[in-house]
Symmetry: C2
Subunit: 320 residues, 2 copies
DNA sequence: GTGAAAGCGCTAACAG
DNA sequence: CTGTTAGCGCTTTCAC
């Protein structure tokens, strides 16, 4: 019986016959409880992510991963965490540790592009499933991806910006960057944003400008920047920085569109200073990524290799 | 061992000792595979819903239920469907059939209120878990609920209506009712809708009016109704009826806010005639309801008794 | 290449 | 009230 399913024999014709006969005609279904009980195998996954102590976004991702870990623990899944400091050197060191250990599956985020590609190529030699979250590496292929579609989310942000009908609107795009250079999706978001207005040429009453400031200090913002501005688009999770500035300086009536349900963003969403947040569901991303490995390895199910998170529009009234 | 967990003995103190000693100190976890293999029990769920042949909303619910059925089949779950025609007599007949059979769990939607209460009281005597979907019955208690929060969704619709800044806005609420009277949530939605504007008194530039028409024929709409109107709120899934009328009569520039991702609604969403659809995730509702029974009965996990679906804002750009 | 048997961890039934 | 045992359906191993 087992050798029919796992076809230990090589007689292809006979196998096909038996598979047809038994599985299809008799409607045989493998009993998953018995199978896993007998199989009695443990699955070890590696999770390679940035240390999340002061990175709320990654903390939320981690929450989803831990939820999945807890859920799948009784099914023989265990997870080892490799958390690196937010710099390439630390990443490479941790990645090396992962390569030296022996895992059945890998989950990681390619924050530092070049280093990540090298690591990916190395790990692929092991021929174990890999899931990437948050952002994707196109080449080399051969891994699954769970995450956002950055371009589409920017396109959506364009629509959200467009809701103010008829009036003349000046839109300011505020790019708030970090000291350490990393794979960043905000440029794709801005691409998508402009693309929306290009595809909707009837929206003639919008004018755009951009500024770039550094995350590390707030006083790079000044009132003059917001002169005549009616909407602000912040293409990463730091919309709260703009919100805080506008609130402190009592500048009202400017619509803010941003990303991610960070605590500070939510605070200003609830206050009505931030109008829209596009949620990429980081918790679900983390969960789905582990779930992908679980389904593939433990349940041996067929799984999609790319899973784009749905784009969730969050306003004050549907946040919970 | 099994009698420690299932405490066959009555010596409470000793039990507590052993539970503490073994479960907590030794970190014992019941092997779910072995447990279910040995238990070898089949679970039969009854699903009592309206025949969905021409009710797209219920068809989508059903899709979620069938997805769950498929997923949980290897774990011993089977589902019997009792689908009634959309009238109370048919409901009562089907409900009787459910009562006469022997099920481990029940999933149903209380479409016809009085009949549903009577059925609920009757079924509760069996002391088996019950999940209600779509709408809830407050009394009697003793069942789980998976579904929408109708008031909150109307409140959110208010926010979506409010996005047009500064201009004078006339809002028309179009109530499209059915011939057969059934439990309906649209009144709660309208409540929530008005409530939003009451709680945001700074939005002074909105005026409201209401009309009621019957689903059965379209020609109850006429152009005069939309004179001077800038937004239309349809508090059920039939926004496409208004959209179709406006399109056919080439009335442009009216914002439409509606509910549910029915095919026709999506068609007009994509065309840009409908602006917002609030999605109650019917597929996920159906899935979650079965999942609730599964977790409770098969996995014997603790489960939440009330699960409000998140309110999803769908525009053209984030529909997939 | 194929058949037989042990045993995965648990539950339920039965004997003491 | 407690100890023992068969067996759930499958995988793996070992003998043929």
């Amino acid at each position: 019986m087992d050798r029919i399913i796992h076809n230990r024999g090589q007689v292809a014709q006979e196998n096909i016959d038996k598979v047809n006969a038994i599985i299809e005609e008799y409607g045989y279904k493998r009993n998953i409880f018995a199978s896993n009980l007998a199989f009695n195998k443990k699955f070890k996954f590696a999770v390679l992510l940035p240390q999340f102590s002061d990175l709320e976004y990654w903390k939320i991702q981690m929450r989803g991963i831990e939820k999945a870990e807890k859920e799948f623990k009784p099914y023989g899944v265990s997870i080892s965490y490799y958390l690196y400091d937010f710099d390439p050197v630390s990443f490479v060191r941790m990645a090396q540790n992962v390569l030296e250990a022996d895992f059945d599956g890998l989950l990681f985020a390619p924050i530092f592009y070049d280093e990540s590609v090298r690591f990916l190529e190395e790990f692929q030699k092991k021929d174990k499933p890999i899931v990437m979250i948050d952002s994707d590496i196109v080449e080399p292929k051969g891994h699954a991806y769970v995450g956002q579609n950055a371009f589409k989310s920017g396109f959506l942000a364009g629509r959200l910006t467009s809701f103010a009908v008829k009036e003349q609107r000046k839109v300011l795009i505020v790019k708030i960057t970090r000291d350490i250079e990393a794979t960043s999706v905000y440029l794709q978001r801005i691409d998508g944003f402009y693309s929306f207005f290009r595809q909707n040429p009837q929206l003639t009453h919008f004018k755009f400008s951009e500024i770039t400031i550094n995350d590390s200090s707030l006083n790079q913002l000044d009132k003059a920047m917001f002169e005549g501005i009616s909407s602000v688009f912040v293409p990463n999770s730091r919309a709260y920085i703009v919100a805080q500035f506008l609130e402190e300086n009592q500048i009202n009536g400017i619509r803010i569109i941003g990303y991610d349900l960070l605590e500070k963003n939510i605070e200003y969403l609830k206050k009505g200073v931030i109008d829209f947040l596009i949620n990429q569901k980081p918790e679900e991303q983390g969960y789905s990524a582990v779930n992908h490995l679980y389904k593939k390895l433990v349940l041996q199910e067929a799984v999609e290799e790319t899973y784009y998170m749905p784009l969730e529009i969050i306003v004050k009234e549907n946040f919970d």
